[in-house]
């Protein structure tokens, strides 16, 4: 006769409610795990999306995501001539805010040369960029439909396509535009800044008799340079070895070539490390809290059965029978709670504002941890049960 099943059946409503409460807690643990994974996936998605083998950036920087990197956009022509390089193309990144209706949406703008490296790996709806100006492919997460017109600075973009699941390390949706548009937005100075610069230039020219005849207005367009990029993306021939090609490029004085693995490492270790550690620590705290709560529930359930356990001892039930009653109930509670938690998180994870990546591996690991916690917690209950004095069940007479 299985006493645990009988007890659970008898107190089913309460048991179910307790398991549901535990399920909510475990769903939070799962969500934190998913947020942790999602943060890493988000951070890496933007690096992996272009499918580049190397990233050529400004020397002594970890750019373009971890630090500012500025290099001439025509550097790609030189890079393309390096043995082993199949394709090379400039790319520009910038964090901007789009106004759509009454909403403001932060996006990571990516400027690339349409038809070259840097394009989104897939367009889920609409089409990729076709014109060289004023078109935009947004991630679906931004919530802006195809056909929407978005004014930015001096230009107005039209949304022509939507991607899915490509976001920045901070979870912002990506916006693909042409390199020229991106350069204009990132590097073209505002009118006020141009006027200030011209005034300073004019003052400088006036102070130098040899240059006094020159006009700042005629020199300014020459000095204003928007032909910059944040990185050159490089795709190698299948036979080329990325580290060897990178070393060769680094012999040039002003650039650094990073492999995609190095770029991922920089992102994972420098950009999101603290947030990642924070979430990991919070996860550990949640698991510790779950352990204490499960232990308390099991202990309370055991305490409630003090008299019954004493009676079982008097009628001769062996310790194994009493221990298995507690262990089975602890496992049933944990597994039911885990089930509730898993169903709940699978139903709601898509509605989180940032990516929550629920991985089967993580679920299996948590399942194992929950089983271990239940076994540990039941040890507390079993120790208590075995220490119950059987005379507790009898009258207090002497």
């Amino acid at each position: 006769m299985n006493l645990a099943i009988r007890d659970v059946k008898y107190r089913f409503g309460r048991f179910l409610l307790t398991a549901f409460g535990l399920g909510l807690l475990l769903a939070t643990v799962m969500a934190m795990g998913g947020i942790y994974r999602g943060m890493v996936e988000d951070a890496l998605s933007i690096v992996r999306a272009p499918g580049a083998d190397l990233w050529v950036v400004q020397k002594d920087t970890n750019g373009p995501f971890a630090e500012t990197s500025r290099i001439p956009d025509d550097l790609y022509r030189v890079v393309r001539a390096v043995p082993g390089v199949r394709e090379a193309s400039p790319i520009a990144f910038q964090s901007v805010q789009l106004d759509y209706g009454s909403r403001s949406v932060r996006v990571q703008m990516i400027g690339y040369r349409p038809g070259n490296l840097g394009a989104p790996p897939a367009v889920a709806a609409g089409r990729p960029l076709a014109a060289s100006r004023y078109e935009m492919v947004l991630d679906r997460k931004a919530g802006i439909p195809i056909g929407a017109r978005l004014p930015m600075g001096r230009v107005t973009f039209t949304v022509v396509g939507l991607t899915e699941g490509i976001v920045s390390s901070s979870g912002d949706s990506t916006a693909y535009v042409s390199l020229q548009d991106a350069q204009e937005l990132q590097f073209l100075k505002a009118n006020e800044a141009v006027r200030n610069e011209r005034a300073r230039l004019q003052a400088g020219l006036g102070a130098n008799p040899a240059l006094a005849s020159l006009s700042a207005a005629s020199l300014a367009p020459i000095l204003q340079n928007t032909n910059l990029a944040n990185a050159i993306l490089v795709r190698l021939e299948p036979w080329a070895e990325p580290n060897a090609v990178a070393k060769r490029m680094e012999r040039w004085n002003h650039y650094r070539a990073m492999t995609t693995a190095e770029q991922e490492d920089v992102l994972a270790k420098n950009v999101i490390e603290r947030a990642r550690q924070q979430i990991l620590l919070f996860r550990i705290i949640l698991l510790s809290v779950s352990t204490v709560i499960i232990a308390l529930i099991i202990y309370t359930m055991t305490m409630e059965k003090t008299r019954d356990i004493a009676t079982l001892k008097i009628i001769g039930a062996p310790n194994v029978k009493i221990g298995s009653l507690i262990l089975q109930e602890a496992l049933a509670l944990g597994l039911l709670g885990y089930g509730f938690g898993a169903v709940l998180i699978n139903l709601v994870y898509e509605y989180f504002p940032r990516r929550v990546a629920i991985l089967a591996f993580d679920q299996y690991v948590l399942f194992g941890i929950v089983v271990a916690i239940c076994v540990l917690a039941s040890i507390v209950g079993i120790r208590r049960a075995l220490s119950i004095d059987p005379t507790t069940a009898m009258g207090g007479g002497a």
């Binding site: 006769m1 006493l3 009988r6 007890d7 059946k9 008898y10 107190r11 008299r307 019954d308 009676t311 079982l312 001892k313 008097i314 009628i315 001769g316 039930a317 062996p318 029978k321 059987p390 005379t391 069940a393 009898m394 009258g395 207090g396 007479g397 002497a398």
Partner: protein, 226 residues
Amino acid sequence: MPAVVGEKLSKIFGQGDGQVVALKDADVAVEAGEIVALMGPSGSGKTTLLRALSLIDPPTTGYVAIGNDVVFEGARVLTDDRQLRRKRMGIIFQAYNLIPFLTSVENIALVLTLNGISRREAMARANKLLSRLELGHRAETYPATLSGGEQQRVAVARAVINDPAVILADEPTAALDTERGKAVMDLLRQLGRVQGAAVIVVTHDERMIEGFDRVYHMTDGRITNH
């Protein structure tokens, strides 16, 4: 040969100045099929003697034998006390002590399953006994919805289902009115005789004294006469 023997049983609680002697050289011997009452005022040591004989709370010193088996001698328990109670004893409590999450029939069958009998057979035997006790209609009922008299009859059934050599009852009628108390006591006497068990009933209710073969009187931990 007596079914249960207790000789020179003493039980001392505490140490030094706080020492309380609950049993002093108590001698008990009950034959198979004999039904004896253990009477005395509150605090006289009746329940302590019952606990000592069942090894629920073994005596400090003395000798206890169940049938031919010496289970306690000197100051040592010589057997697995749970196995002893499971296989050879039936115990009835003042507060019934049915397991609340088991139905009436399951409470009775539990004793058999603990002794290794299959669930199916245990349930069949438990149902049969409940029918004999005219409680067949309450077989699937949980203790909380049974009356006090019904609960105690189920408790009696649980105590006798494994044909024990010894039945120990600790004030089984204390929580019942006179009529229901007498009914339970009659049932206990009847089942004890039919099964040939030695029955020891702790009571301080003089109204229940009829029908016992012998009565032990206890005062201050001593058996004064029988």
